[in-house]
Symmetry: C2
Subunit: 339 residues, 2 copies
């Protein structure tokens, strides 16, 4: 599985092995105020002197999307990709963002390019009412090529412990609501770069270009998720990042439940259909490497579906929770006939 991704140079097995080795090397000690992670999206930490609230932290990068941004000399959008990605990661715990810090590493520092990158970070922070508290810019000749850079960031949020979703409340029969993805967001770019060469970035692709379709910014789901949580009993959420529906949704599902998605219920963005076609991606690869059009999921009781859909334009029911027995898959995606 994920053959195409492996061919593109990303070793998912090595990634899983690393995670396991991290568990080994960190198992000897855990801080007593650490509350564990909700599905691994974010870490929770008890706020000292406050029994009702926790801080939530998450670190991420934008991956090789930056190489496409570099090639297109479009520097002011990757910052927003990063901030919105991080906002969504802590949103899974119910947390509101407090502040963000960025890390920008370059081979050769061009102050104008760096300022464009940071302007994107700042703009997205503002849109999420999240402070841009600080950052670090590192010039590292020898680590990065002169025209290369990397961008990572860390978000810290705050959550009432009462408001943290409890995946154990998920039951067969619950509905899965999906919020639409606008493109690859922040994942699958090593594969995308292998399938769409740089020479094609400026070529027309539908009403846009390949490059613009690839760079479509990762949206923040803060507003629709808050709106849905106001009117519906949200039992569990997932941010669909690397690993797609297949790996992200199980992270916040109880063992006895399986998520069944029906691909006829939502649209696959054209850029993803194009990658599927060019890479001849098998069913499993598509849903493990790409979000395939679903950027964020929320599990609610059937009775709350109508209210939830009305609260968030673009939201759709994308699947249902079914009973699961040991050994059965935790996520099933029933394909549309056309893909």
């Amino acid at each position: 599985m994920s053959d195409a991704y492996a061919r593109a140079g990303v070793d998912i097995a090595a990634g899983n092995l690393a995670v396991q080795r991290y568990r080994d090397v960190t198992s000897g000690w855990t801080h007593p105020d650490q509350l564990g992670t909700l599905g691994g999206f974010s870490g929770l930490f008890r706020l000292p002197g406050d029994s009702k609230r926790a801080l939530v932290g998450s670190t991420d990068g934008v991956g090789t999307k930056i190489l496409i941004a570099s090639a297109m000399r479009r520097y002011d959008t990757v910052g927003a990709d990063l901030v919105n990605h991080c906002v969504n990661d802590i949103l899974v715990t119910g947390a509101d963002p407090l502040f963000f810090l960025d890390y920008l590493a370059v081979g050769k520092l061009d102050p104008e390019v760096a300022a464009l990158v940071v302007s994107g970070v700042h703009r997205a922070c503002r849109e999420n009412a999240c402070a841009l508290l600080g950052g670090e810019t590192a010039e590292m000749p020898g680590v990065y090529r002169p025209d290369h850079f990397d961008l990572a960031g860390t978000i810290v949020g705050l959550v009432d412990l009462d408001a943290v979703p409890d995946p154990n409340r998920v039951n067969p029969g619950d509905a899965i609501i999906g919020l639409p993805a606008v493109g690859l967001h922040t994942n699958g770019y090593t594969l995308a770069r292998a399938l769409i060469p740089e020479e094609e970035y400026a070529a027309p692709f539908g009403v846009t270009t390949y490059g613009d379709a690839l760079l479509a910014p990762h949206p923040s789901y803060l507003v629709p998720v808050r709106a849905i949580r106001k009117v519906a009993d949200v039992k569990s959420m997932a941010h669909i990042t690397g690993g797609g529906l297949l790996e992200n949704v199980p992270r916040t599902l109880p063992d006895h439940a399986a998520a069944v998605f029906e691909q006829t219920r939502w649209d696959v963005p054209p850029i993803m259909a194009e990658l599927v076609k060019r890479g001849n991606l098998a069913h499993e690869e598509r849903y493990r490497t790409l979000n395939m059009g679903v950027g964020y999921t929320l599990i609610v009781p059937i009775a709350d579906v109508d209210k939830a859909l009305k609260a968030a334009p673009g939201a759709r029911v994308v699947g249902f929770v079914q009973p699961r027995r040991d050994g059965e898959p935790r996520v099933v995606v029933r394909p549309a006939r056309s893909t």
Copy 2:
């Protein structure tokens, strides 16, 4: 100035220009709970619903020290460098660390190497009683060479607003206490790599080797600083990182005060004396690029000096605060005759 550093490929002027451009692009909006930064070491953020405490955040990397670690295949120490660096950065505000998140980016993921890196992060977190709350490992072929990696991290701490040092209380006549540096810590490595080629890392250097002297881990100053603050009125502190004494100490000095260091009062670590010799570094370059043996400074009234020195083994008076008029330098280092 800093000619040697520029020759090594790091452009300090570009760095300063980038900082100025960041101010431009972020000036349009600041989060209302953002309390500004103390000398730029860390950002402070008012804890929601708590008028007496603030969160403190700081992000940093280990710079090109990782290239020396890679060359020596010594992967379990750079994590501690990073954590201790970050602990010291927020310590300047008086904050106690709460949690840390790491970002590890690699060209090709080797799970064993990654686990060694994270084990160093975890060990230092434990030593500082700081949770390792999460992290991100990114495999990015095309950005990093297969054998290269980068490591950055973010720390979050908590401080009573009453306990934040107030540099405006610094007066001429106050003493500057220095905590000893054990080596380059996390700065000056691009210069060091230009002056000491990889072939020499295994060669003997005094009682150690060049490589080991270069990799000497960045210490945490949490324990000595806490001990000194218990017995002395600490008015201002600085973590001596990139920019050395010349650029870091002024960040927490009032305009009317100058810091005068007397180099006879402390020892310059041999590896730094070696770099000074090999690079023929001018006085200004030494104290701007390297810590030259002082890792952290605390400004206290003369009356508190004896108590402070007794509280922290290795601490020494390294200089004094003098009156300063407009246009005069903010930091003066009086050289020892031998260097």
